[in-house]
Amino acid sequence: MAELLGFPPQVLFGQLLIGLINGSFYALLSLGLAIIFGLLNIINFAHGAQYMLGAFVAWLGLKFLGVNYWVSLILAPLVVAAIGIALEKTLLRRLYKEDHLYGLLLTFGLALMIEGSFVHFFGVSGQPYSVPQALTGGNNLGFMFLPTYRAWIIVASLVICFGTWYMIERTKLGAYLRAGTENPQLLQAFGINVPLLITLTYGYGVALAAFAGVLAAPIYSVSPVMGSNLLIVVFAVVVIGGMGSIMGAIVTGLLMGLIEGLTKVFYPEASTTVIFLVMIVVLLVRPAGLFGKEA
């Protein structure tokens, strides 16, 4: 087949696919961060650790209890969300009246604790998690080979992302959430249980992270440090997109994944740094972020 932009198309599309997969994870994680930030006004630094927990719950479940991938995909987010809700109810809740930076510091401390404990018990090297039977193999699309599991990741995360968008922008519950983001006191005055809404929102954001973790388990190895480096990239994505918009978080996440994939083809040395460089450009040109609302 003819070369495309001086590269064999397999290479180009292969990297774009990897980019799109990374972008799906960025989208899921930045979406969770944005939802939590919207209502709680804190940046959840434990998000990476919760993503890692999702993957570990799946791995431990399979290893010790024989829980298969499909059950884990539902169960792991619920388990991790339950842990998250417990943390919110016992610890985070005490900080809502303080400076928002304390929430960041608290979740940072929690992330260190969670990650540190897992490193102690499992070491830093990754554990393998096999692709579920139904999703093995792949299709030759003519211009590239598409492994089924990778296609599944993209479809599943897009469904969850856009489902979340629909829920927040188009349903009654989402309307409450948006109202709470706008003015929690007023919403409470209308008889809505805002503290409960906050707890559930945090739980949902955490569940998204854990869901991403289970999706990631078969393609990346399950390791205690899998979340922290990813999270910093996601922070850059969040700065680029701005946290004001749900759709903005999703689109920016996917876009940054693609840009990263393209960089791997054209200038591999910069592939780890390109998202940070995009962040710098966005800060210079449009400080509020691509989808940001603040002036």
């Binding site: 900080l95 608290l106 401390g109 929690l110 922290s228 710098i280």
Partner: protein
């Protein structure tokens, strides 16, 4: 964080009391290496300076930087590089390292002060991660191995720093200079305006202050001093490595400041001494692999119930009982 108003006689009294305190501490610093292992003391001093530099931004400017590791590492790498490759004397090496960190602080600051609060923290973290990846790839940093065997050299080309005692007094002198600069900054009109920005930024703007300029200057001073700490540290241990550039280091300096007392002049020193002692002590015991968990736990406790930190709590206690 409260603002205090003192009448002039109380001010005089507290100033003379402070003078006594500083004299005692200076004396203790001078005799300390006779009783305690100097390398340990030098480590504490380097981290104390690092934490003091960080505190200038968080404690007095209300700016949470999550990227100070980049400045520590830059100071260390540049100093190590110029001392090894150009053969300059240690004080010149440290000066160049410090200036490079300050320059990097200018760039970080220019970008990060475009956003406030939580975004500020995320931007500084992302930028320092960018620097981390650059140092992983850049040829002059030695990659995973870092720069090893950096010579301590001869101060002004005369005094050999190879022995720990002269090195200690050199480090101590640097620390005192850095600390004095921070003290001067905090107690200058500039420092007062910085505090005003921390307390109420829109009001500072409406009073006609160019808020961004003040933040930027604070950022550059803080980054330069963090670089100074890194430069000095690289000579003490004759090593610069990626550990200094990792975001864990940015977290550690926050912890030191938080534990000691944000916005107190001695807090970061006490916090740094506590954390370094704890790490040294734990890393030899059976709890070695639990160190990150313990640091995380201290973080959580500090944030939840100990927000004033050690020095802040002591100040509160003293105020309640002795005045």
């Amino acid at each position: 964080m409260t603002t205090q108003t003192l009448d002039s006689s109380a001010m005089d009294k507290s100033v003379s009391k402070n003078r006594m305190l500083y004299a005692v501490l200076l004396f203790l610093g001078l005799v300390a290496p006779l009783a305690i292992y100097p390398v340990f003391l030098m480590k504490v001093l380097c981290f104390a300076l690092f934490a003091c530099a960080f505190n200038l931004m968080l404690g007095y400017g209300g700016l949470l930087s999550f990227g100070h590791a980049a400045f520590l590492a830059t100071g260390g790498y540049i100093t190590g590089h110029v001392v090894m490759q150009w053969g300059v004397t240690p004080e010149i090496g440290i000066l160049i390292g410090t200036l490079c960190s300050a320059a990097m602080g200018f760039v970080f600051g220019k970008l990060a002060i475009r956003r406030q609060g939580i975004y500020f923290a995320m931007i500084t973290l992302a930028l320092s991660q960018l620097v981390f990846f650059l140092y992983v790839q850049a040829p002059f940093t030695g990659g995973e191995n870092g720069l090893q065997g950096i010579p301590r050299g001869e101060l002004f080309g005369v005094i050999s720093l190879a022995d720990n005692m002269p090195m200690y007094y050199f480090v101590f002198a640097i620390f005192v200079l850095g600390f004095a600069l921070i003290h001067r900054t905090i107690h200058s009109p500039f420092g007062q305006i910085l505090k005003a920005i921390r307390e109420n930024e829109p009001r500072a703007v409406s009073l006609g202050y160019d808020v961004d300029k003040y933040k930027l200057v604070a950022f550059v001073i803080s980054a330069g001093l963090a670089g100074l700490a890194g430069s000095t540290k690289s000579l003490v241990f004759q090593l610069s490595s990626l550990t200094d550039a990792h975001w864990h280091m940015s977290g550690e300096v926050i912890l030191m400041t938080l534990l000691g007392g944000v916005g107190t002049i001695f807090g970061p020193v006490v916090g740094a001494a506590t954390v370094v002692t704890l790490q040294n002590y734990l890393s030899q015991g059976p709890l070695a692999s639990w160190v990150p968990v313990i640091l995380g736990l201290i973080f959580v406790i500090c944030v939840l119930i100990f927000r004033s930190g050690i020095v802040g709590e002591i100040q509160k206690f003293a105020k309640k009982n002795f005045s």
